[in-house]
Symmetry: C2
Subunit: 432 residues, 2 copies
C-alpha cells in the first residue's frame, strides 16, 4: 500500500526464481495479480511468463502493446518467444516478429508454423551439434568457449555433414569417457521423433521408453530441435491433469483463481450438455408414467439403479483412459479386455444385484419389486462395464480425447439403460 512496502515486496519477489514468481502469481486473484506483476523487473518478466500457465500468460499479455511485448521477447530465446507470441493477437505477433533479427525471425516463424498439437511446436532450438569423429577433449574445449550447453540440456546431438542426426552423446559419457577417444565410441543410437508427430505420440513414446529427451527430425532425418526432460515432464503432468479435469466435466484450462465471469463461462458447456443428457434420461422415465403412478416405491428406488451402473462404468472408463494414454491398448489385447470387463461386470453386477434386492425387500416387503430391481442392477452394471471400455476405445480411434466426452456419454448410457430396464421390467411384471 505504501511505497516503502512496495519496494520491499518488489525486492523480495525479484529474488525468487522465475518458476517461483509464476507460482506466486497463480495463487493470487486476477486483480491482485496485476498489481504484483507491476513489481516484477523487466528482465524477469519474460521468463516468468514462459513459466506461467496459458491463462495467466494471456491475462497479463492482454494489457500490453507491441512495444512492451517486444521488450519482453528480447530477453528470451526463440523457443521461449513462441510461448509469448502464440497468445498475443495476430497484429502484435506480426509487429514483434518483424522487429526481430533474421535468424530469430526464421526460427520463430518455423516453430509457429506447426499446429498446437504437433511436436514441432514444442521443440527447443538450442541444440548443440557435434561431429562423430571429434575427440571428447576437443568437445569439452569447444563447449567452454561457445558456452552453448545450457542448464537442463544434457545431450549433444551428433550430426553428419547434411545435418542428419546420427547419434546423441550424453554429458555423463562426455565426462566419464576416455578424453582422447572419439565421440563415435560413446554416442547412443538416436531415438528421435518426427516434427509432424502429435504430442500424444510423443507422450506414449517417451513414457514407454523412459526417454529423458527426444531429438526432433524432419522426414529426411535432418535434426530440427529437441524436446528436453523438463518439457516432457511438464507436458505429461499437464496431460494427466487435463484428463482428470475433463472427466469431471470442466475444461482443462480452468484456473482456480480465474475471475467469476470466466468461471461461469468455462463451466457452462458441460452443464448444458449434461442438461441434454439428463432430459434424455427424464424422457425415458416419462415413458413409464403409468407404472410410476401406480407403484411409488419405483420412484424411490430408481436412483439406485442409475447410480450403481454409473460407478461401475466410470471405474472401467478411468482405467481404460489411462491404458490408452500409456499406449497399452493394442490390436491383439482388445478382445481379451472386453471379455474381462464383461465378466467383471457380470460378477460384480450379480453380487450387488443380490445385495440391493435384499435391502429393497427389507424395506418394501414386495418380492416383485426386489426381483425387478435386482435384475435391473445386474443388466445395468454389466452393460455399463462394457460401455466403459468400448466408448473410450471408439473415441480414441476417432481421434477424439476419450476423457473429454467419455464420461458424459457413459452417464447417458447408464442412466438410459438403468431407467429403461428397471421401469420396463416393472411395467411387464408389476403393472396391473
Amino acid at each position: 500500500v505504501e511505497e516503502a512496502d512496495d519496494k520491499q515486496t518488489a525486492d523480495f519477489i525479484n529474488d525468487l526464481t522465475a518458476a517461483e514468481i509464476a507460482r506466486l502469481l497463480s495463487a493470487f486473484p486476477p486483480k491482485e495479480r496485476v498489481a504484483l506483476w507491476a513489481l516484477i523487473t523487466p528482465e524477469n518478466r519474460g521468463h516468468v511468463l514462459v513459466a506461467s500457465s496459458d491463462n495467466i500468460r494471456e491475462q497479463l499479455l492482454s494489457q500490453m502493446g507491441a512495444k512492451a511485448v517486444l521488450r519482453i521477447c528480447r530477453t528470451l530465446s526463440s523457443s521461449d518467444m513462441v510461448w509469448i507470441l502464440s497468445v498475443v493477437n495476430d497484429t502484435i505477433a506480426e509487429a514483434v516478429t518483424l522487429a526481430l533479427d533474421n535468424e530469430q525471425r526464421e526460427q520463430v516463424q518455423s516453430v509457429l508454423a506447426y499446429d498446437e498439437d504437433q511436436v514441432g511446436r514444442y521443440m527447443n532450438l538450442d541444440t548443440v551439434t557435434i561431429r562423430a569423429d571429434v575427440r571428447l577433449e576437443v568437445i569439452q574445449r569447444y563447449l567452454r568457449i561457445s558456452g552453448g550447453l545450457k542448464h537442463g540440456n544434457h545431450d549433444l546431438m551428433v550430426v553428419d555433414i547434411d545435418g542428419v542426426l546420427v547419434g546423441t552423446l550424453n554429458v555423463i559419457d562426455l565426462l566419464n569417457g576416455e578424453q582422447s577417444a572419439q565421440v563415435s565410441e560413446y554416442m547412443n543410437e538416436p531415438q528421435s521423433i518426427f516434427d509432424t508427430a502429435s504430442v500424444d505420440e510423443l507422450m506414449v513414446y517417451s513414457r514407454a521408453a523412459h526417454l529423458n529427451f527426444v531429438p526432433v527430425v524432419d522426414g529426411e532425418g535432418v535434426l530440427l530441435g529437441q524436446i528436453n526432460a523438463e518439457d516432457i515432464n511438464e507436458l505429461s503432468i499437464e496431460r494427466a491433469e487435463a484428463t482428470m479435469m475433463n472427466m469431471a466435466g470442466i475444461g482443462e484450462n480452468s484456473e482456480l483463481f480465474s475471475g467469476i465471469r470466466s468461471g461461469v463461462q468455462n463451466r457452462s458447456t458441460w452443464l448444458g450438455i449434461n442438461l441434454i443428457t439428463a432430459f434424455l434420461a427424464t424422457w425415458v422415465i416419462g415413458q413409464f408414467e403409468e407404472v410410476l403412478a401406480q407403484v411409488v416405491a419405483l420412484a424411490i428406488l430408481m436412483p439406485v439403479v442409475a447410480s450403481m451402473g454409473g460407478i461401475a462404468g466410470s471405474q472401467t472408463l478411468a482405467i481404460t483412459v489411462r491404458g490408452l494414454a500409456m499406449g497399452q491398448i493394442v490390436g491383439s489385447n482388445r478382445s481379451w479386455l472386453l471379455n474381462k470387463e464383461l465378466w467383471i461386470g457380470l460378477i460384480n453386477g450379480l453380487v450387488w444385484a443380490l445385495v440391493v434386492a435384499l435391502l429393497a425387500h427389507l424395506w418394501f416387503e414386495n418380492s416383485a419389486i426386489s426381483t425387478v430391481i435386482g435384475a435391473a442392477i445386474w443388466i445395468n452394471m454389466a452393460i455399463a462395464s462394457i460401455a466403459g471400455v468400448i466408448i473410450p476405445m471408439v473415441l480414441h480411434r476417432m481421434g477424439q480425447d476419450p476423457a473429454l466426452s467419455g464420461a458424459v456419454i457413459l452417464t447417458t448410457v447408464s442412466d438410459v439403460v438403468g431407467f429403461m430396464s428397471f421401469l420396463g421390467l416393472a411395467t411387464v411384471f408389476i403393472l396391473q
Copy 2:
C-alpha cells in the same frame, strides 16, 4: 509355441531397454505375462521389475523364493533393491537382506525404515559428494577414475567435513566452467528437503520451484541421498493419474490387465460405499412418498435436479483438487475462493434454473412444478459449488487425499440437497 520361435522372441525382447520390456509386460494379460517373463534373461530381470508398476512387480515376484529374489537383487543398486524388497513377503525380505554385504544391508534397511509416503523411501543413495575447495579439473579426473556419476544424475553434492550439504554443482557448470577454478565458484545454494517430509510436500516443492532434483538431508542438514529428475517425473505423473482414478471411484493401483478376480475386488469398495450413499438419497426420497404418489411428474423430473448439482459440484471439486496439488491454496486466498465459487454457483444456478423451469413448463404445463424445480436447481447448484471447495479443503487439512473420498461425499451432498429441496418445496407448495 515352438522352441525356435521362443528363442527368436527371447532375443527380440532382451534387446529392448528395461523400460520397454516393462511396458510390453504391462500390455499382456497375467497368464501370457508369466510366459513372457520366463524369456527374460536374469541380468535384465531386476531392472525390468524396477521399471514395472507395483502390481506387476508383485505378481511376478509372488512366484519366487528367497534364492530367486536374491539373484535379482544382486543385479541392482541398494536404492533399486528397495522396490523389490517392499513387495515380497517379510520372510523373504529378511532372508535376502541378511545375505547382502554389510554396506548394502545398512543402506537397504535405512531406506526401508521410512514410511511409504516419506521422502526417505524414494531417495537415491548413489550421490557423488565433493568438497567446495577442489578445482573443477580435479573433479573431472576423479569422476573418470571412480565412474561414480551415473546416467540421470546431473548434480554433484558439495558437503563439508561433517557431511552437511553446503551446495550442489551441476554437470553443465562443471563442463562450462573455468577448469582451474574451485567448486565454490560455480556451486548453487542447495534446495534440499528433509528425509521425513511427505511425498506430497516434495511434489508441491519441486513443482513450485521447477526443481530437477532434490537433495535429501536429515534434521542436522547431513546429506542422506537425492531424488533425481526421473523419480520426480514418475511420482508426479503417478500422482496426477491416481487423482483421476480416485475421482472416478477406483483404486489408483488398478491395472487394465489385471485378472478378473482382482478386477472384481478393487472395484467393490467404492461400489459398496456408493450403495450406502445411494440408499441415503433413496431414504430422503422415501420421506416424500405422499407427494410423489400424487404428482408423478416429480418422479420424472427428480434426476435432473440431482444431476445438475452433481456436475456443478464436481467441476469445482476438480479445480480445487488440482489447486491443492499445486500448493496454490494458502491461508489468505481461501475466503476469496469460497466467495468466488458461491457467486459462480449462484449465477450458473440461476441461468440453468430458468432453462430447466422453462423446459419443465413446456412439458407439464404446470407453473407450480416449474417454479419448484427452478428453485431446487438454484439451491442445489449453489450449495454443490460451495461444497466442491469446502470438502477437499477440509479433507486436505485432515491429512486425507481430497480426490479419494471427495467425489463420493460431494455426490451424497448434491443428491440429498437436490432431492430434499425439490420434493420438500413440492410438499409445501403442491401437495393438496
